[in-house]
């Protein structure tokens, strides 16, 4: 089974972020970059399927030099090969542009039996790229999987929705997006890290994909980024537990008017 996992490399979720001087994006200097946590579930699921069904797990990630470290980490987890997708033309992609590039990459690699992506990249938090990619590749998609069983050219997928669990049938190839609950991503051990150094990792650029800048022009634009408005200072409630409880209920009812 040929599994392509789309990986996004994002600022560490615990890092302190600042708005850049242009006021429209985060300042990128001095950041630690990691594989987007949802994509770790995608890599892990790819590896589990390969262990069960044989085949290969190929990682692809669009971005400058920093994505190479993320891809190495995915290789250390056990993926077979990786491609860094980079061209100066890819510097300012929105989700639609990224999906166009990824669709071209997957075609360039000869297609896949299964495309796995995290259901969203942390940071932009768009939850769009996989759906646009499925559209561009004309593939079915099941999103936010918490259980995946592949059987031949079909798969049964479970996902959590408001009020319960949906069970889906899909034919393969398909795009499946992953989230917490699907699996527990493995750590890359020392052996994996050593092995990763010898695994193939190439760079694919716009010319190799036959992509022109016009096809990638953004459809949306971020015009500003600001910290959220300050919340009012906390009102601490004093007294013993019974007094505090009574006063809190009174405040929620009379002052905040939420109960």
């Amino acid at each position: 089974m040929k599994i392509i996992v789309c990986v996004k490399v994002v600022p560490d979720t615990a890092s302190r972020l600042k708005v850049a001087d242009d006021g429209r994006q985060i300042a990128q200097n001095d950041l630690t970059w990691i594989i987007s946590p949802y994509d770790e579930f995608a890599i892990e699921e790819g590896l589990k399927l390969r262990e069960k069904l044989t085949g290969e797990v190929i990682l692809v990630s669009v971005g400058p030099e920093r994505v190479a470290a993320g891809l190495r980490n995915g290789l250390a987890m056990g993926a077979d090969s990786a491609h860094q997708i980079w061209d100066p033309m890819f510097g300012d992609l929105d989700a639609a542009g990224r999906a166009t590039v990824l669709a071209a990459v997957i075609k360039h690699l000869g297609g896949a039996d299964l495309v796995l992506c995290g259901h969203q990249g942390v940071g932009d938090d768009d939850s769009q790229t996989a759906g646009l990619l499925a559209g561009a590749l004309d593939l079915p998609m099941v999103s936010m999987a918490i259980k995946l069983d592949v059987d031949g050219a079909a798969a049964v997928v479970e996902r959590e929705v408001e009020g319960g669990i949906e069970v889906w049938d899909t034919s393969l190839p398909a795009v499946i997006t992953t989230q917490k609950g699907l699996n527990t991503p493995r750590y890359a051990g020392l052996k994996g890290i050593m092995a990763a150094k010898k695994k193939p990792m190439g760079v694919i650029d716009a010319a190799m994909l036959g992509l022109a800048a016009e096809a990638l022009s953004p459809k949306t634009e971020r015009r500003a980024m600001t910290p959220p408005p300050d919340r009012p200072p906390v009102k601490l409630i004093q007294g013993d537990a019974a007094t505090q409880a009574k006063e809190l209920i009174r405040l929620l009812h009379e002052e905040a008017k939420v109960i």
């Binding site: 759906g131 499925a134 999103s143 929705v161 009020g163 917490k180 459809k219 634009e221």
Partner: protein, 327 residues
């Protein structure tokens, strides 16, 4: 722009979901400010109650795609239906709730129509006839302002944020039937409802959450008792989900759910940045924690510093008394 706004009406288990009414209400507000009209698209079985409710909340027209094969959801067929309505109505904007279904559907609609999509919007404004959206990014650390470069403007709306219009049952609303190719390679085969009585986190107006301060899995019962007393849904921090005290469907925050209830009660949750990511847009936040330095107090409206094992049961008793007196 064309002043017609199409909204997606999500029906689950025969019931129109509240976020769909929020989308219609917001579309109505924008249409009123731009001499526009609102067209809601209902896919699946015919549903008179849903159609009436959409009209009462502001739809000028409801288009029903009611072929049998559309009764189970698939992004492929549903996106086709929505795109067809966008085209036939000459819409300038599409509003879709940012629910599990809307998240899955919207990108496919964006692909089919070529329109730009801004996700998880928490406000929409008109500027010179075009939409401007505000939304949280980087886990709520920033609020971003977005505009569209495409003629068609597609937005998904964060649930529980947009106010409902006051329903006007006598508003005129045209109802039209339409057909679309229902073929789909991926579709829902079965729906397993959550065990009875459990409230849905993402749709809840009140959420009570517990964290490590509970000290042991069996003490989560304190959270259940308070949640039940307040008629709310139950949440949890990542720490106690990772320790297996509760299932991952309870997790609020990064790699869990993002919620915007009117009241969020955090018990024994220190407020790691990954937790704040999922709940900092709640309207009113209550924090109960023994550590006065816990970061959760920085975003809380009301705080109680103390022993949750004393405070939470006292609060449960007070909440029961409060709701009983109002019943």
């Amino acid at each position: 722009m064309s002043n017609t706004i199409v909204t997606f009406a999500e029906v689950r288990g025969g019931t129109l979901r509240r976020p769909s009414l929020e989308a219609v209400s917001e579309a109505r507000r924008i249409a009123d400010a731009s001499a526009g009209r609102v067209v809601s698209v209902l896919v699946g079985a015919a549903n008179e109650a849903a159609t009436k409710s959409l009209g009462a909340h502001g739809a000028d027209k409801v288009i029903c795609f009611a072929a049998g094969a559309l009764s189970s959801y698939s992004s492929e067929s549903y996106a086709r239906a929505l795109s067809k309505a966008v085209e036939s109505e000459g819409a300038g904007a599409v509003l879709i709730p940012y629910t599990a279904m809307g998240k899955d559907l919207a990108p496919r609609v964006a692909f089919l129509t070529g329109g730009g999509l801004v996700s998880d919007c928490s406000s929409l404004e008109l500027a010179e006839g075009r939409l401007v959206a505000k939304r949280a990014q980087y886990s709520g650390k920033f609020i971003s302002t977005f505009g569209w470069k495409t003629k068609l403007q597609i937005a998904t709306l964060r649930p529980n944020v947009f106010a409902l219009t006051t329903p006007a049952p006598d508003r005129a609303c045209e109802v039209a039937q339409a057909e679309v190719d229902a073929a789909a390679r991926a579709r829902v085969r079965e729906f397993r409802a959550k065990e009875g009585g459990k409230k849905e986190l993402a749709e809840a107006q009140i959420i009570v959450s517990g964290g490590r301060g509970l000290k042991a899995a069996e003490h989560y019962k304190l959270i259940e008792d308070l949640g039940n007393a307040m008629g709310g849904a139950l949440g949890a921090s990542r720490a106690i989900v990772d320790d297996g005290w509760v299932g991952h469907s309870f997790q609020v925050g990064q790699t869990g759910k993002t919620v915007s209830p009117t009241l969020y009660v955090a018990c024994g949750i220190s407020g790691a940045i990954q937790h704040l990511a999922g709940m900092s847009s709640s309207r009113v936040i209550v924090a109960i924690n023994k550590d006065p330095e816990a970061p959760i107090f920085k975003i809380a409206n009301y705080g109680i510093v103390g022993d949750l094992f004393e405070i939470v049961p006292a609060l449960t008793a007070e909440a029961k008394a409060h709701f009983a007196s109002r019943a």
